[in-house]
């Protein structure tokens, strides 16, 4: 059973790597700063909303791109939403992927769009797994009686 100190160190290392590798950006830090005693689960709540929203959007995108006649305006609207929500929680790599995706929408490039959808899905799954791991680490620290280190 890892000690609180070991868990906290793990947390710091893991968080640092997420920022370094571009999975998360400063906006995620902003969210963490918003969390307080009156709203101790704020970050998890917002991120959960993001997960729900993203899964819906990814499904809608797949459907929209499967149509005989693709409505690129509709596709772009979904990507715009995805870009917005990922940016709001600091999921930088997903946001960046959405930027590329929108370019292909503008060009009405189906192949490009399909590729971007795959990549966006991939980036989303990666960040989701990493955030879930981060939250699990937080839980472990709290259950072991420790406090979550503040990341600057």
């Amino acid at each position: 059973m890892a000690s609180v100190t070991q868990l906290q160190r793990q947390f710091i290392e893991y968080t640092t790597s997420l920022y370094k590798e571009g999975y998360l950006d400063d906006q995620f830090t902003q969210l963490q700063k918003l969390q307080d005693e009156s709203n101790p689960d704020f970050v998890v709540e917002v991120v959960s909303l993001f997960f729900e929203d993203s899964e819906k959007l990814l499904n809608n995108l797949a459907t929209a791109l499967q149509q005989k006649v693709v409505d690129y305006k509709q596709v772009d609207s979904h990507v715009h939403q995805f870009k917005g929500s990922s940016s709001s929680i600091g999921a930088q790599r997903v946001t960046n992927m959405c930027v590329h995706f929108r370019n292909f929408c503008e060009e009405k490039n189906l192949e490009g769009c399909l590729q971007c959808l795959q990549q966006a899905k991939h980036e989303y799954i990666l960040v989701r797994n990493k955030l879930e791991a981060l939250f699990r680490l937080e839980q472990q620290i709290l259950q072991a009686g420790g406090s979550i280190p503040m990341m600057e």
């Binding site: 929203d53 709001s88 929680i89």
Partner: protein
């Protein structure tokens, strides 16, 4: 109950639930009371400008600041801004437009229409702190309450 009424009341308008939740927290952390609306139409109703505005005696809660997303389906933030500024009873309420896209013509358009400010999303706590100065917050004294950062 009295304390509740003393805080500035912000109306946050955004079709994204995630953004509504984040903005709500940003403003409550800055000691504001927050009401959220998912569309321009809902916002107008809360501002007492709904369908029944002429028959409805109660104009709704006193709003000191409107913060609206630009890109919304149906009524855009710009449309909402125009409706607020064209209305005789609520045109004094400062409106802040927020957007994830940095489009100079869009920004100009909003400022020309009377938006107090145009801010890029995602908003930070520091952005919100600065906004408190814009709120038309009347206690017993008339005039704006400007709180330093």
């Amino acid at each position: 109950m009295k304390e509740e009424e003393e805080r500035p009341h912000v109306l946050v308008v955004d079709d994204s639930l995630i953004d509504r939740k984040i903005m709500e927290k940003l403003f409550t952390n800055s000691a504001c009371k927050v009401t959220t609306a998912e569309s321009g139409q809902k916002a107008l109703e809360l501002l007492g400008q709904g369908e029944d505005k002429h028959t409805h005696m109660n104009k709704g809660p006193k709003i000191n600041l409107v913060v609206t997303d630009y890109c919304m389906p149906g009524m855009t933030g710009y449309d909402l801004l125009r409706k607020v500024k064209e209305s005789s009873d609520i045109k004094e309420i400062p409106v802040i437009v927020v957007s994830s896209e940095n489009v100079p013509t869009r920004i100009e358009k909003c400022l020309e229409e009377g938006a107090q400010e145009f801010i890029l999303k995602p908003l930070k706590q520091s952005d919100v702190k600065k906004l408190r100065c814009h709120m038309q917050f009347r206690r017993s004294i008339k005039g704006r309450l400007c709180i330093g950062a």
